[in-house]
C-alpha cells in the first residue's frame, strides 16, 4: 500500500495509542479527532453517505478494542486505515448479499423505494463513484484513491489480482464517461 495516511503526526499518535490502550479515553478522542475525516471519507466512498456515520463509529470502536495490538511498527494512521477497511468490507459483504436478495424479492411483490436524489442532474465525482457496481467501486477506491496494490486488494476482497485489474479498468472506463460529460 502506498497509502494516503500520513505518518506526519506519528509521535503524537503513538503516545496517544499507548495511552488509549491503557484505557485513556481522552487520548483516544485525540486520535479520533486527528483521523475521523480520513476514516469517514473512506466509509462514505466505500459504503455510501447513508452508512458512513455508523461504519465510522464501528471502525473507531474496533480500533479501541484493538489498540493493545498496535505496536507502532507502522504509522497509526496506516494501522487504523487498514482496520477500518476490514471493518467496512466485512459489513458490506453481509449487507450487500442480503440487500441484493431483498431487492430481487421486492421486485416480485412491488418495487421498493424510489431512485435516490443523488442520481438526479449533475453529479459530483464521489456520487459518480457511488453509482459503480460494488466490486468495481471497491477496487477503484482501494487502488486509485487509497493506493493499494492489486495483490493487496486481491487479499482483502478474496479475489484474484486479475479480477482486481479487470474491475479497476471497468470502473475507470465507467468514470471516464462521467468525466467526459462533465467537463
Amino acid at each position: 500500500m502506498t497509502g494516503r495516511p500520513s505518518a506526519a503526526a506519528a509521535p503524537d499518535d503513538l503516545a496517544d495509542a499507548r495511552l488509549g490502550a491503557a484505557g485513556d479515553r481522552e487520548a483516544f478522542e485525540r486520535l479520533y479527532r486527528r483521523h475521523v475525516a480520513r476514516i469517514h471519507s473512506l466509509a462514505r466512498r466505500m459504503l455510501g453517505e447513508e452508512e458512513a456515520d455508523d461504519a465510522t463509529q464501528d471502525a473507531f470502536i474496533r480500533a479501541w478494542e484493538k489498540l493493545g495490538t498496535f505496536r507502532g511498527d507502522a504509522a497509526f494512521g496506516t494501522w487504523l486505515h487498514r482496520l477500518a477497511i476490514n471493518v467496512m468490507l466485512a459489513a458490506r459483504t453481509a449487507a450487500a448479499r442480503s440487500q441484493q436478495r431483498l431487492v430481487q424479492g421486492d421486485h416480485v411483490v412491488e418495487r421498493a423505494g424510489r431512485p435516490k436524489a443523488d442520481l438526479e442532474a449533475r453529479m459530483d465525482f464521489e456520487s459518480a463513484i457511488a453509482t459503480l457496481p460494488a466490486g468495481a467501486r471497491e477496487v477503484f477506491m482501494l487502488h486509485d484513491v487509497e493506493g493499494f496494490k492489486h495483490r493487496e486488494i486481491a487479499a482483502l476482497l478474496g479475489v484474484t489480482a486479475g479480477t482486481s485489474k479487470a474491475q479497476l479498468h471497468r470502473a475507470r472506463m465507467a468514470l471516464r464517461a462521467y468525466l467526459g460529460g462533465d467537463d
Partner: protein, 221 residues
C-alpha cells in the same frame, strides 16, 4: 469501438504490463486515435481520484462513540470475563430482535385472524416484558411465528391464488435468508451499529411483507 488492447489500457497506465505487451500497446497507440483518447481519459480519471479530499462528517460522531465505549470490550481483554458478560447481557440486536419478535407474533396473529375470521382486531400487549425475553425464547417465538404463518399459508392458501401464495412464500424465504446472514455477520461483530441497523431494516421488511400479506387476504375474503 473496442480494440484488442482496450482492456489492457489501465494496466499500461499503471505500468503493469510486461515488456512485450507494453511494446505492443505502444505500437497500437501510435496507430489508434480512439485508444489514445481512451488512455487520456483514463489518466484524467486517475488524476481526479487523487484529488479527492477528506472531509469531516456532518455531525460529530464522538459522543455516540464514547457512549459505545462504555459497553465495548476494554482494550485489554480477558476472554473469560468477555464470555461471562455475553452470558448475562443482552446486546442491542438481541433486544431489538426480541422487540421485533413480538411484532412478528402480532403480525402472525393478524394473518391467522384475517385468514380465518375476517378483518383483524389484534391487540398487542404493550406491557409485554420485552427486555425479559431470553435470547432463546426470542428465537423460539420467532420460529413459532414463522411456523404459524407457514401453516396459515398452507391452510388458507385457497383464499389467494396460487401464484400470489408462491410469491409470498418466496419473499419470506428471501428475507429469512437475509436475516440469517445478518445474524451470522453479527456473531462476528456484535457491536456493529451498521449490522445492527441492517438487521433491524431487514426485520422491518419482514414485518411489512407480513402486513401486506394480511391485507391481501382481507381483500380476497
Amino acid at each position: 469501438m473496442k480494440h484488442q488492447w482496450t482492456d489492457r489500457l489501465s494496466e499500461y497506465l499503471d505500468d503493469e504490463l510486461d515488456a512485450a505487451d507494453r511494446s505492443a500497446v505502444e505500437a497500437h497507440l501510435r496507430e489508434c486515435e480512439q485508444c489514445r483518447s481512451d488512455l487520456g481519459q483514463l489518466e484524467a480519471v486517475v488524476a481526479r481520484a487523487r484529488e479527492l479530499t477528506d472531509r469531516l462528517p456532518a455531525v460529530d460522531l464522538w459522543p455516540a462513540i464514547v457512549r459505545r465505549l462504555g459497553t465495548a470490550v476494554e482494550p485489554v481483554t480477558d476472554l473469560t470475563q468477555r464470555r461471562a458478560r455475553r452470558r448475562i447481557a443482552f446486546s442491542v440486536p438481541q433486544l431489538a430482535a426480541a422487540g421485533v419478535a413480538l411484532m412478528l407474533l402480532s403480525a402472525g396473529a393478524v394473518w391467522l385472524t384475517v385468514a380465518r375470521n375476517g378483518p383483524p382486531v389484534v391487540a398487542v400487549d404493550s406491557a409485554a416484558p420485552v427486555a425479559a425475553l431470553t435470547v432463546s425464547a426470542e428465537l423460539a417465538a420467532y420460529d413459532a411465528t414463522i411456523a404459524e404463518l407457514g401453516a396459515a399459508l398452507r391452510l388458507d392458501g385457497d383464499r389467494l391464488d396460487t401464484a400470489t401464495v408462491r410469491v409470498l412464500e418466496e419473499n419470506l424465504a428471501i428475507i429469512d435468508r437475509a436475516i440469517a446472514e445478518a445474524r451470522t455477520a453479527l456473531e462476528q461483530d456484535p457491536a456493529s451499529r451498521y449490522l445492527n441497523g441492517h438487521l433491524g431494516r431487514t426485520l422491518r421488511r419482514k414485518v411489512d411483507l407480513l402486513q401486506r400479506a394480511a391485507t391481501l387476504v382481507t381483500a380476497a375474503s
